[in-house]
């Protein structure tokens, strides 16, 4: 089952496309990392997946073909929006009770235990908590709903490095316990490299690449060899990035199982190299006919 499936999905704000022609299928289980620079269309994609934004074109379904925003989808998906919005005039206990009343399932004892662990007082107004604490409250509330899919929009940006680790540890524990799937967006890949199973790279409103991280790393190779021969190979291979020095050429190619040309040296690439190569790849620049996408807060 795919937790999110999109087909030619696009969203236009005024004249600019925040997301364009995005077709992907995020498989169930594990953590899918949605990465890309600011303004890449990450929030737009997530907001469409939870039904807060209506697509301009294309389709999006969740949890194996359910309509976005349908009762079945809302029931099984928890969403933590960017900046973790909470009702600032409500106490933490009221936020828990509020969420309990708005959902069929809510694990009150889990939520209380986790907040106690984090030393977040239940009687404090949400607005009086620090940004990091508000993010923790929002995550606790989302997890206590026992969702099948948890969607987190830039959850780490408000947290200090220590809190980031705690946050991710909580998410990973819940995944292991409940078999929950997670889609998490970030503009920084480094924190996700070790925990993500699936990678989606967005740049300039376009899907650059998506796939299982193990497969992606296995499929891509950095080939280094004489620049003179580079053109011939480049025409034959699927080149993601082509860097030439005076005599040396470095080709990042997607060539699962293809033999390495004689006289060339092949080495594996890191996830970060891969992501940067796809973000910089000339072939995947925003379409000229359609204007430059821009991040627009939904």
């Amino acid at each position: 089952m795919n937790v999110i499936e999109t087909g030619c999905l696009g969203k236009r704000y005024g004249k600019s496309w925040a997301l364009l022609d995005c077709t992907l299928a995020v498989p169930e289980g594990g953590l899918a990392a949605l990465v890309g620079p600011n303004g890449a269309g990450k929030s737009t994609l997530m907001n469409m997946a939870v039904g807060l934004t209506v697509p301009t074109e294309g389709t999006v379904t969740v949890l194996g073909g359910r309509h976005v925003g349908s009762p079945g989808a809302l029931d099984d998906i928890a969403f933590m929006a960017q900046d973790a919005p909470v009702y600032k005039n409500l106490s933490v206990a009221d936020m828990l009770h509020l969420t309990k009343n708005l959902n069929r399932r809510f694990d009150q004892s889990f939520a209380r235990a986790r907040l106690a662990e984090l030393d977040i007082p239940l009687n404090k107004k949400s607005g009086k908590l620090s940004g990091g604490q508000q993010a923790q409250v929002a995550l606790t509330i989302a997890l206590a709903r026992r969702p099948r899919l948890l969607i987190l929009d830039e959850p780490l940006s408000a947290l200090d490095p220590l809190a980031r680790q705690d946050f991710m540890a909580t998410v990973m524990t819940a995944m292991a316990d409940d078999g929950m799937s997670v889609l998490l967006s970030s503009h920084a890949l480094a924190e996700l490299e070790r925990v993500a199973d699936y990678l989606i790279v967005l740049g300039g409103g376009r899907l650059r690449i998506a796939g299982d991280i193990g497969d992606l790393l296995a499929e891509h190779l950095m080939l280094s060899g004489p620049a003179a021969e580079a053109d011939a190979h480049a025409a034959r291979l699927e080149v993601v990035q082509d860097r030439r020095a005076a005599a040396q050429a470095h080709l990042l190619v997607r060539s699962a199982g293809r033999p390495v040309p004689p006289g060339w040296e092949a080495h594996s690439v890191s996830l970060e190299e891969l992501v940067l190569a796809y973000l910089r790849a000339p072939g995947s620049k925003p379409a000229g006919a359609r204007t430059e996408p821009a991040e627009v807060a939904p």
Partner: protein, 325 residues
């Protein structure tokens, strides 16, 4: 190929047809989110009601002293009369004007923030992704708050009606059908407040800014109230036609521009609202609304305001459903 004829597996689709979150849960949710507003509104209306009650005792006392005063032509009685018609009436007239403005303020301060605050602070991203769904969330909230506001404002209007009663007897130009009196009594006041609240909620959803929605709510209420005074109310299907001049023997009908009709300047307080007169031969015909039509007019006005409120709630829900960032 028996597989093809097997019925669809139940359970495969179970996730799609979940039992919805019950409506009654929204009672606590609405209370939790809007208790400050509800408590504030109750406190303000309660304070006004207490003030009206105290003033009412004073006014009723003065009025019974005036009514009991004999002989009426004596200087003492004349002094009471002029005091009642100046001091007391000034207070009552001011309060009456404030009562006529109150629905606009109530709508602006209670309605405008209900939806717009969620959009301003981004909390709609939380609220609209919960299991209950945004349609139930919106309908339940607006209906519950609307009912609460209607009940509270109805209670206030009853206190005001009692407070104002002596002036309807004493002020020659006022009847229960007068524009500024009609709206403060019966069910009209509560209906106007309810309508104003739903206007605020709708405009908050439309404009997405609390302050802008408040300003727009004031404008829309005043516009609609004036249109109702000037154009609508005289056309409620309650008017009568007669050539029996004895009903109007006190009056030289003076047409005033705005209302399309006028109250004869020396009419007693049960005098009908004369809409128009015309001559057929030597007979004078009158088109008028007697004060006995007060309740039919109240139900007509309350009715269309209620229908408008329901439509505004429906329009708000429609905006919530289709809201595309």
């Amino acid at each position: 190929m028996t597989v093809l004829t097997l019925p669809a597996q139940p359970g495969q689709d179970a996730g799609h047809a979940v039992r919805p979150v019950p409506w009654r849960r929204m009672i606590w949710v609405t209370w939790a989110q809007h208790r400050a507003m509800l408590i504030g509104l109750t406190a303000v209306l309660g304070a006004v009601a207490i003030f009206l009650f105290a003033m009412g005792l004073y006014v009723h006392h003065n009025f019974s002293a005036l009514m009991a005063c004999r002989p009426q032509a004596s200087p003492a009685c004349q002094a009471l009369n002029s005091s009642f018609n100046s001091t007391d009436w000034t207070i009552a007239n001011t309060l009456d004007i404030l009562m006529n403005l109150a629905p606009a303020l109530i709508g602006a301060f209670t309605g405008a923030a209900v939806m717009a605050r969620e959009l301003e602070t981004g909390t709609f991203r939380y609220a609209w992704t919960q299991g209950i769904g945004r349609v139930r969330w919106t309908i339940a909230k607006l209906v519950l708050l609307g009912v609460a506001i209607a009940i509270l404002t109805w209670a206030l209007s009853q206190v005001f009606t009692w407070f104002f009663a002596p002036f309807l007897q004493q002020q020659d130009t006022l009847t229960v059908l007068s524009a500024t009196v009609f709206d403060t009594r019966g069910i009209a006041f509560a209906a106007w407040c309810l309508m104003s609240f739903t206007v605020g909620a709708f405009l908050g959803m439309l404009l997405r800014r609390v302050i802008a929605a408040m300003a727009a709510t004031l404008g829309v209420y005043l516009g609609l109230a004036v249109v109702t005074w000037v154009c609508l109310r005289q056309d409620y299907p309650v008017a009568l036609v007669t050539s029996n001049a004895s009903l109007f023997n006190y009056a030289i009908n003076r047409q005033s521009g705005a209302g399309g009709g006028s109250f004869p300047s020396t009419a007693p307080n049960n005098s009908p609202w004369v809409l128009s007169t015309w001559n057929v031969g030597r007979t004078v015909w009158w088109r008028y609304i007697p004060v006995s039509r007060f309740w039919p007019m109240q139900f007509i006005e309350g009715g269309w305001l209620l229908v408008l409120s329901v439509l505004l709630i429906a329009a708000t829900v429609w905006l919530v459903r289709r809201r595309a960032a």
